[in-house]
């Protein structure tokens, strides 16, 4: 193993690590605000990459049907809830839940119109394709919160975890139905390689590192500066307290799931040109984000990023030394972490 290979592997590791870091951040964020361990995060990665791939193949993305169905059910449930509150017909129709009906319908119509007018989606600029993919996949986040988690927001962490795994099962199954068993690889955001310290660096690598850094800074600013971000932080620290200050837990939950879906989908589109994505690849990618998040005890954002980068590097070098055992090696990373946490653990604390 010479220096070139070391650097090349480091580049691979950091690229994947940056994506794991984004996912780890989202996982820590969702857990802090809702106590949900968001296992289906990985499915957003797969849905993002595969939806983009179907756009580029001029196919109607299956996720759009999912969005329509989920939106209809959410709308129905919210509408029924408003009716139970005794609201009149006009006041029952409100934006916070009306969009769940109108937005998917508008998207379906737009896609249908484009296909009818034989407009090639693949001829759109990449930026527009990315935006379109985000529009299709990201709204699924708050909808999943509405359907699966909101009705049992006060349940113990363990029950929420089981629900989370069940949702993962559903989404993987749906992914297979919509995208089939074949994998897809999307073209890189821009072609070309650069030399850096004598090692060729792919343009996509720069995209990954650059935009994930931007996204992290953006998230940081959002949480530090914006009112919504502060509301989420308040909810994470003390839900009851935040509620007394007028921050509805439902709102916080939907917002944080929206952010998580955004991060997941974008990560999927970033990683699409680097590895072939199958309907079930997202789970493994998400789990590696998890390992990063567990390193951070599901609590610290900087530690989660560090842990995820470590996972990426470990994976890159493991795939060079013992490629068939790289997953085992990566998942074994949590053993020393858990051991260390276990030894440090003191006092008696009841689980929530």
């Amino acid at each position: 193993m010479n220096l070139d290979i070391v650097l090349l592997l480091a580049q691979d590791g950091l690229t994947n690590g940056a994506i794991y870091a984004l996912l780890a951040l989202a996982l820590v964020m969702v857990f802090a605000v809702t106590r949900v361990i968001f296992v289906p995060q990985g499915e957003f990665v797969a849905f993002g990459a595969l939806t983009l791939a179907s756009l580029q193949a001029n196919k109607f993305p299956g996720t759009l049907w999912l969005l329509l169905a989920a939106g209809l059910i959410c709308f129905f449930l919210d509408w029924r809830y408003q009716r139970r509150l005794g609201e009149g017909l006009v006041r029952r129709i409100r934006w916070p839940f009306l969009w769940q009906l109108l937005f998917p319908i508008a998207l379906v119509l737009a896609f249908w119109f484009m296909q009818a007018s034989s407009f090639k989606l693949s001829s759109l600029p990449l930026f527009a394709q990315l935006l379109l993919t985000l529009m299709v996949v990201v709204p699924l986040g708050p909808m999943i919160y509405r359907l699966a988690f909101q009705p049992m927001a006060q349940a113990p962490v363990l029950v929420l975890l089981i629900v989370s795994v069940a949702v993962h099962l559903v989404l993987v199954g749906i992914g297979l139905v919509f995208f089939g068993a074949e994998g897809s690889r999307t073209p890189p955001f821009s072609e070309g390689t650069f030399g850096f310290a004598g090692v060729p660096v792919n343009a996509q690598t720069l995209w990954v590192l650059g935009t994930s850094l931007l996204l992290m800074i953006g998230l940081g600013l959002f949480f530090e500066k914006s009112l919504f971000g502060k509301a989420l932080r308040a909810t994470a620290i003390n839900q009851t307290g935040a509620r007394l200050m007028g921050i509805a837990p439902v709102f916080a939950g939907r917002l944080v799931f929206l952010l998580a879906a955004l991060i997941g989908t974008y990560s999927g589109m970033l990683i699409g040109p680097i590895t072939t994505i199958y309907y079930d690849t997202g789970f493994l990618i998400g789990l590696k984000g998890f390992v990063g998040a567990i390193v951070a005890g599901l609590a610290s954002y900087p530690l989660a990023v560090g842990g995820a980068l470590l996972v990426g590097l470990l994976e890159a070098y493991a795939s060079f030394w013992a490629s068939s055992f790289k997953e085992v090696i990566v998942f074994s990373l949590i053993i020393p972490v858990l051991l260390w946490r276990s030894l440090r653990h003191q006092g008696l604390h009841d689980d929530e």
Binding site: P156, V163, V177
Partner: protein, 647 residues
Amino acid sequence: MMTNNSLGEQPESLTPAKGKAGAGSLSLSWSKTVVVIVLLLIWVFAPWVLPAYYLTMANHIGMVALVALGLVLMTGVAGLTSFGQAAFVGLGAYVSAVLSTKFGLSPWFGLLAVIFMTLALAFALGAITLRLSGHYLPLGTIAWGLSLYFIFGNMEFLGGHTGLSSIPPIEIFGISFKSASSIYYLIWIVLFVAMLLTDNLLHSREGRAIRALKGGVVVAESMGVNTARSKMIVFLLAAVYAGISGWIYAHYQRFVNPSPFSLHIGIEYLFMAVLGGAAQVWGALLGAGVVTLLKEWLQDLLPRLMGASGNFESIVFGLFLVLLLQHSPKGIWPHAERLYRRIIAASRSASPESRSSGLDTRAAGVITRFPAGLGHSNWPVSTLPKRAHQLSADAGYLLRAQGVEKRFGGLIANQAISLELRQAEILALIGPNGAGKSTLFDLLTGVQTLDAGEIFFCGQAIHGQTARHIAKLGLCRSFQHVRLLPEMSVLENIALGAHLRGTQGPLRAALHLERLEERELMREAAEQARRVGLADVLHLPAGSLALGQQRTLEIARALAADPLALLLDEPAAGLRFGEKQQLADLLRALRADGIGVLLVEHDMAFVMGLADRVVVMEHGVVIAQGEPAKIQQDPRVIEAYLGVDLE
């Protein structure tokens, strides 16, 4: 030294509730017997009448039910979860497969190796995750399940993804369990034995400790339960069940490959446990049966319906699981039980006398079982060992705190707190809300660690000791917000308090070799119930009691530990006047028995009429202590309570 008739009440009401049912319970048990006999006959003759396909199905259900049983114990009873049970099944299958194909060893030797290996690996996995918050174990099992699956698939030695074949069948005394009909009996006998052992375990001292885990570790540890150990017992048992299931699987199928041991299947096992009804051993069988049949049916039906192939059944399972947890988190067992009851009731509605079934504890979901000999005819004093109540070496002080300090970030909850509790004394701790009284209780009982200061109990330093250790010394407590196990009976809740007075371990409990001790524990619990005036409600679920009774129950639970000192956190809150009088009488009786009582209370009339001395706290510091009459005149106390500036 403790007199056992301190309240002088006659034990007439110690009749198990089921005794009141009279003729009704007789006919119920008669119909139950019929049901059991019919089921037994069906079970014995099933291999002769079932078509091959259904026999295979029955075998499969038996094998997965064994795994689900372990998960019921974990998820439903102990509040733990594992997604990695399939990996333990795989471990069992592969260990025995390798030993019998590569080394030509007997499957029975394989079984021993399987048990050893699953225990060892589960112990290692448990040791690093069980002390952490509840979600680390399931996350750990996801990683472990995935890793083992990759190892199975990638090891040349294990045959890679094609697996190992020509595994010998299990044989004993010349009988070979080769055919589906012969292994049927092996599988189901193993399953029934496991269910029996599990059920025995749950209805023992160790079982109560395991069931107490659901109420949180703080209460359980304060009762002297080693919660890490109880969790470990459950996890090990579940792993061994899974390993044995894998062992049977390997020698029944005669070949193994990695696919039945994936994480996906691990999730399915959990689904079975949750679906069946996670608090019942029978729930495992129900869940395993329903899920296996449903999966078979869905795999057949859905692809035809959708016109394509795919994992459609996992979509249905996932949706079903979400809806189930949202709408019926206790699974379908309670529904099945209700249906059974309705059928029984309908079949007996002709006879009117059978309707007076009295207090039906089972309907409320309580699993109680009483060792023989707990009728009202024999109300003997329990023979459990009692603590020697000699005068403590510490100058007559039971409990002595010096300069205790506790900070939460910038907030000083307790600062330089010093107080003493003597034998046969009632010491009241009063102060406005937020004065730091409950924090002090947590520090004294080892629930939280103090930042500075010293605490002695009977002359022994107990600062820095665990809650369990402190409970063992005889310092027992109640909680400000009642912390009972609402689904367990009053008697069982009290018996939990006597946990440290028993010694029998889980193995003897599973084999019911500890019945003698169990009876003594139950007698002691009944005795304490009578002492505090709860003898009428022994068999009701604790959650069904009124708040006042629940508070009294907490005192009885602490008394069952045979304490030297009692720490009671607002025992009179929410009690009516009459109940407060009774409580005061009880506390005086305890004092007469030599117990030192430290109580936090807000009701001044109650405190001043009862306590020997009073300690007043405000803003984390002691502002006054002394006799009640003096405290009532103390200007600083008046200021603290009334906000009057006297200057």
